[in-house]
Amino acid sequence: MDALPLAYPANLWDRIYDIWLFIAVVIYLVVAIPMLYFMIKYRYKPGKNENGAHIEGNNALEVTWTVIPLLIVIYLATQSFVFYRQQRNAPKDAMEIKVTGFMWGWEVDYPTGKKVFAFFSPDYKIPEEQKIVIPVGKPIKVLLTSKDVIHSFYVRPAKVMEDAVPGRITHLWFQINKPGEYWAFCREYCGTQHSHMVAIIKAVPQDEFDKWVKAGVSPSTSKIELASNVKEVQ
């Protein structure tokens, strides 16, 4: 196996997960062990402890368990901030694709004008021409929007998602480092076929991708080309 993680920015999510899990398990033990110990030790024994001790509180203790959790959560939010910048901001050399959600499926536009329609599939069998092909080992920036209701594009191996909102352009980025087929799900409830609104992302080597993305398109008629022509006229 090579040293590269399967996908970016999933590596960052794995790190925040490890940090949280460690802290959560420690806090859990700090609470649960004394709790169990007290529950066993101080159970009611007739004649021995008819009533509990009259203890109203302890300021030092209460300050401790206010300040330490406060420091922990501020650390966690700051650590998350550091990772989040990288999870959200695509590398400069990223390839842009446009993904538009609709009820129910995805319309994918490539820079060359190539278009893929990934329709919903009740049996989760996706035909070859509906797979979203991307080059392996290259960052992909996805510009998202929707034609009707709110959808959400979740790239399972990369562990990122973002909503596709009508009237807005949102974004996410990912990079897959191993050729293969991966799931993408709609993760914002969008109606009857919501659970069938899945797509397959197919990561292929760069040269294979180049061949695929140029096949069957004439650049002058593509929407993206037209849009850039308009810009030149202005």
Binding site: W20, V73, P166
Partner: protein, 538 residues
């Protein structure tokens, strides 16, 4: 006229007196029985959902029906059970705990209940297939304006009616607690449950109008051609998400703060100790209520809002962990050097704290955008709120029902059946929800009627469905226990727990006017004082 008088206790009142009653105990029973029935309905809907998820593919229900079941389960569990059940507790206990004969506005109280009843009828009408609403309890536009989502007006009016009932209840409970306390009961020494209920109702009073506003805009957009949420004409669906969560996030504290109150009452009684750090417990509750209004954007962490807003709200959201942490530490410290009686309510309370601990620890990463980017709208979120809202709230409510069952009915519940029910609920719920965390981390989205045949998904769904049925069986045992015990239970007496709290100093069930004389409590009275009072435990 029967409209204002209270002639008979609830167990011997005629039908006319029930219909025209303004007695807080009868209205509490109305609320309690209705919310339990709806809890049962929503629970059965959940079993339908679990059955469908057993295997990939659609075996039992169509996606339309599945989406309706999910919508119904969400709406009813949240608005009827997790919020509604506390109206029963508030109605029954506030006057008894503060030494009053009724709430401040008895007729408003009756109106609140009948409004809630109207909403209940509307919800039952959605059971008719052509009335199915499928917009989930969140009702996000533009989907909720689409015909695929069902009848928008039905959803809007259900929210309006329960909202109106909540506001009437909130005004009543807040005024009663503030103005009608018997001499000697101050905000400092009153029961912690009353602080929990009051904080929850302050949230209701400030928050519900926001939710009502959001669904009103939905209604205007759909039927009168306005464009609040239509992007083609300058609207923005994200406005709805913001206005909706401005109430609906604080609403989770409406569901859990009274449960915190029950935990405190029960722990103090059965550890026979004052609550550790009582004043910090009160501050923690009010801090949660206040902070609750400053965190709603964490529901929008992947919604397309600017990244810097997400960062700001991640800091405010993690702060909630501090007061909730204080509460857990204080409960554990209350057990220290206690004299712990393991009755059924105590088991439910300790179980509730345990579930809340797991729910709280798994809530922290959801406040971190870098974690949430993979967890938003996944089953991980669902598991998290079933630990905190699903289980901690339900165990709190069950603990409260067992604890005050002798007061309400005068009978004792069946201890063995109660404990059995508790252990089955704990096994079932943890089997169910713990594996829901794992499937969520594997990427399984929420609100999926069907799922791709990924092997680990199938295995994890099997475990969850088995857990769900065990959980349902445990809950069923408790329901049976209450029905049988109310009919055939042993006489409980006025104060079976030997508590120093005021509601236990009057006969069970309470007489129509609660207190013959308004009690006057001596200097230094404390409902959790077992040192000076030394009551005997039986």
């Amino acid at each position: 006229m029967a409209a204002v008088g209270v002639y008979r206790p609830w167990y011997s009142a005629g039908i006319k007196e029930w219909i025209f009653t303004t007695d807080h105990k009868k209205i509490a029973l109305f609320y309690g029985v209705t919310t339990l029935l709806f809890f049962l309905i929503a629970g059965l809907m959940a079993l339908g959902i679990r059955l469908e998820l057993w295997q990939p593919g659609l075996q039992f229900v169509s996606p339309e029906t599945y989406n309706y079941l999910l919508t119904g389960h969400g709406v009813v569990m949240l608005l009827w059970w997790a919020i509604g059940v506390w109206s029963a507790f508030a109605n029954f206990l506030i006057p008894l705990m503060i030494g009053a004969r009724d709430v401040a506005f008895p007729r408003l109280n009756a109106l609140s209940w009948w409004t809630f009843f109207a909403a209940s009828v509307l919800v039952l009408l959605t059971l008719i297939p052509s009335n199915h609403i499928k917009m989930m309890w969140t009702g996000y536009p533009p989907y909720s304006l689409n015909d695929d989502a069902g009848i928008t007006a039905l959803y809007v009016f259900i929210i309006h009616l329960t909202g109106a009932a909540s506001i009437m209840g909130a005004v009543n409970f807040i005024v009663t607690t503030l103005r009608m306390r018997a001499p000697g009961i101050s905000l400092k020494n009153m029961n912690l449950l009353l602080h929990g209920i009051m904080a929850a109702n302050v949230i209701q009073l400030l928050g519900v109008p926001s939710f009502a506003g959001a669904v009103t805009m939905l209604f205007l957009d759909k039927y009168l051609g306005t464009n609040f949420f239509n992007p083609n004409l300058g609207g923005d669906p994200l406005i709805y998400e913001n206005v909706f969560w401005f109430y609906s996030h604080p609403a989770v504290y409406v569901m859990i703060l009274p449960a915190f109150g029950v935990f405190s009452e029960v722990i103090a009684t059965f550890a026979r100790k004052p609550i550790f750090g009582r004043i910090s417990m009160v501050f923690a509750m009010w801090a949660i209520a206040l902070l609750g209004f400053m965190v709603w954007v964490h529901h929008l962490f992947t919604s397309g809002i600017p990244d810097w807003v997400r960062i700001v709200f991640s800091y405010t959201t993690v702060l909630i962990g501090v007061p909730t942490g204080i509460k857990i530490f204080n409960w554990v410290a209350t057990l220290y050097k206690g004299s712990i009686r393991y009755t059924t309510p105590m088991l439910f309370t300790l179980g509730g704290i345990f579930m809340f601990l797991i729910g709280g620890l798994t809530g922290i990463p959801l406040a971190l955008p870098s974690f949430d980017i993979n967890a938003q709208d996944s089953q991980f979120v669902v598991a998290h709120f079933h630990y905190v809202l699903g289980m901690a709230t339900t165990l709190g409510a069950f603990s409260g029902i067992y604890y005050w069952f002798p007061k309400l009915t005068g009978k004792m519940y069946n201890e063995k059946l109660g404990k059995l029910s508790f252990w089955i609920i704990m096994v079932g719920s943890n089997l169910f929800y713990f594996f829901q965390f794992i499937i969520g981390l594997e990427g399984m989205p929420r609100r999926y009627a069907d799922y791709p045949p990924i092997p680990e998904f199938i295995e994890l769904q099997h475990i969850q469905t088995i857990g769900a049925f065990i959980l349902a069986f445990g809950i069923f045992l408790s329901l049976i226990n209450w029905v049988i015990s109310a009919l055939k239970g042993k006489e409980a007496g006025a104060n079976p727990w030997g508590s120093n709290s005021l509601e236990w100093q009057i006969p069970s069930p309470p007489p129509p006017h609660n207190f013959d004389r308004i009690p006057e409590l001596p200097e230094g009275w404390d409902p959790y004082d077992y040192d000076h009072h030394r009551p005997q435990y039986t």
